[in-house]
Symmetry: C2
Subunit: 321 residues, 2 copies
DNA sequence: ACTATAGCTGTAAACGTTAACATTGTATAA
DNA sequence: TTATACAATGTTAACGTTTACAGCTATAGT
């Protein structure tokens, strides 16, 4: 509650001198500065964020927009963002929900990192037009104030399909993702391209939405039309887990009757039995790169879009047929 | 970027009239208000958060402080907090890391919900002394500006031990939590009380830190001194999972040789085999209650401390012996 | 001794709001 | 007709900073 004014009064100097002293300006004598610092500490002075950002027109805070907090999924990602930001003197806040979008136009944050399905591209572009800097992790958006840091979905999906083929599978299902999802679209498109390269594939597509129940539903369908061992590429691990759950209640075995590969390498996959084969990428790096790109955008430095590479993690869920 | 001043100029009125109109004051003619609103919309006007909170001395934002984002643990909790806050016109931001603590004295937020092992109680009390309102979810702290919303650790731990006893176990291990953790201290204390009620218990305590490796290490120890089937109460699920992992690499079977019960009912427990017995509570409710209490604290309404009740979830990991 | 210069410190405007208070105009009552 | 009240709008100070600029003092150069 103590303000710069209180310090000035107690130190017998003007508020500007206090301000300079607190900001380490060389304009103030060491002696004066020391006295001011001491009084500031004594009064438990902390600068008022609102006043400072009103004047400086920046907050040194970056907002990360997430659809929801479910799943261990975001842990490493946020860690990566946070570390990269702190290194440059920025703070991170995590926001979720439509209402929090207002932080951008209200200038509560200096930039936004978006991984939020519910954040419409029109809205993002509106904010970009108003001069706000944004990094998107879940869509392609071309704008001078927007940078993309995306997963290499295409090569991931190709890796997955190639792995199934290598293991001798010819009957292949893909369980898709939600309608508007960029990741889902890219992955399914890559799958279609990949299977096209082989003449003898018996390829089927099942709808999905990236959640467990969709995986269960897909499993139900696959079981219903079961004739011979089949392989399934679930476009994310979550649905693969759902599929495990459903199959556990049937006589069909994962890695024997139904072979499954996922995408994301979420923590849970390590505890599935047999271990889920999946596509992995460094969440931490994905986050760090996004943060770095955003800061460059803010500093008006040139930045290129970037894609994060992915690798195949084999597992007992996909075996030779 | 358009400010109230731009609107005033274009509408040919004073800035105060604009302010009143935008805030829906009845002081302004409907006609004038309509004109002003129209111009505001046309100029894409959004109030500047810094200016507003500088003047109003409030931000309508609540900060939730978490140690880290690892684990699916916080998902429902945050959801609960967010819903409760939004209902009352507040926004939630999630903060992590020591630096973010400054949001409190800087008045960036109107209140704090703390579930952060690294946030020292001295620091919290200092902030409370400065008039800031805080709800703690991970410690007992008595202060007029601090409210506690805690888990009913004691009854949870008692439920766990009683369950093991009911199942006929007499050789019982407890794997403890980290040194300074409030939850850990409460739980282990309750365990000691509980086993004291039975004369014939062969009780052992093993150190732990709430992480998987600690569970593995404890499992190693238990296996080393294995003579007969034993039961283990891991003070959280995370360590129980670590124990599963270790035992999977041995000849000992969970639910047969080693019986395990955890605490928290994290999502992962549903995918362990056999299912992990554990202690459950509603994360969502825990979050919602915390948020409600904080808002009451802010409104200077009376609030009592609260404890969230817990229940036993049986599982194949604990069977009759 | 006088001026120029450098080094500190002070003055004041500005950032964008809100809200108390002042002013103006108009309708109502005496 | 004039005082009175009230409704609508305007003026202004304040919130707590930062920072351009002005002012002062002491030192150094002539």
């Amino acid at each position: 509650m103590a303000s710069i004014k209180d310090i000035a009064k107690q130190a017998g100097v003007s508020i500007s001198t206090v301000s300079y002293a607190l900001n380490g300006s060389s304009k103030v004598t060491e002696e004066t500065a020391a006295k001011i610092l001491a009084i500031a500490k004594e009064l438990n002075y902390v600068p008022n964020a609102a006043a400072r950002s009103l004047k400086k027109r920046e907050t040194k805070i970056i907002g990360v927009f997430l659809t929801n907090y479910g799943g261990a999924f975001y842990g490493q990602l946020l860690q990566g963002i946070q570390e990269a930001l702190n290194r440059k003197g920025y703070e991170m806040i995590v926001c979720s929900g439509k209402e929090s979008h207002r932080f951008i136009p209200e200038r509560m944050i200096d930039g936004a990192i978006v991984l939020d399905y519910f954040f419409s591209s029109e809205e993002l572009i509106k904010h970009a037009n108003a001069g706000h800097k944004i990094v998107v992790m879940d869509r392609e958006l071309t704008h001078s104030n927007i940078n993309q840091v995306l997963l290499h979905n295409t090569s991931g999906a190709t890796l997955a399909i190639d792995h199934l083929i290598e293991k001798g599978h010819r009957k292949i299902y893909a369980v898709s993702g939600p309608e508007g999802s960029y990741d889902a679209t890219q992955r399914i498109e890559a799958v279609r391209q990949a299977v096209k390269r082989y003449a003898d594939i018996d390829y089927h597509e099942l709808p999905g939405d990236f959640n467990k129940p969709a995986g269960e539903k897909a499993a139900e369908q696959i079981v219903k039309e079961f004739t011979e061992p089949a392989a399934v590429f679930c476009l994310n691990d979550e649905m693969a887990i759902g599929m495990y759950n459903y199959l556990a209640r049937t006589k069909y075995e994962v890695g024997k009757d139904i072979h499954i590969i996922g995408f994301d390498n979420i923590e849970l996959t390590q505890y599935t039995s047999p271990r889920l084969a999946t596509i992995d990428y460094s969440e931490r790096k994905w986050g760090a790169v996004s943060a770095e790109h955003l800061l460059k955008l803010i500093a008006n430095e040139p930045v290129e879009h970037e894609r994060i590479y992915v690798t195949l993690i084999p597992g007992g869920s996909v075996q030779n047929v």
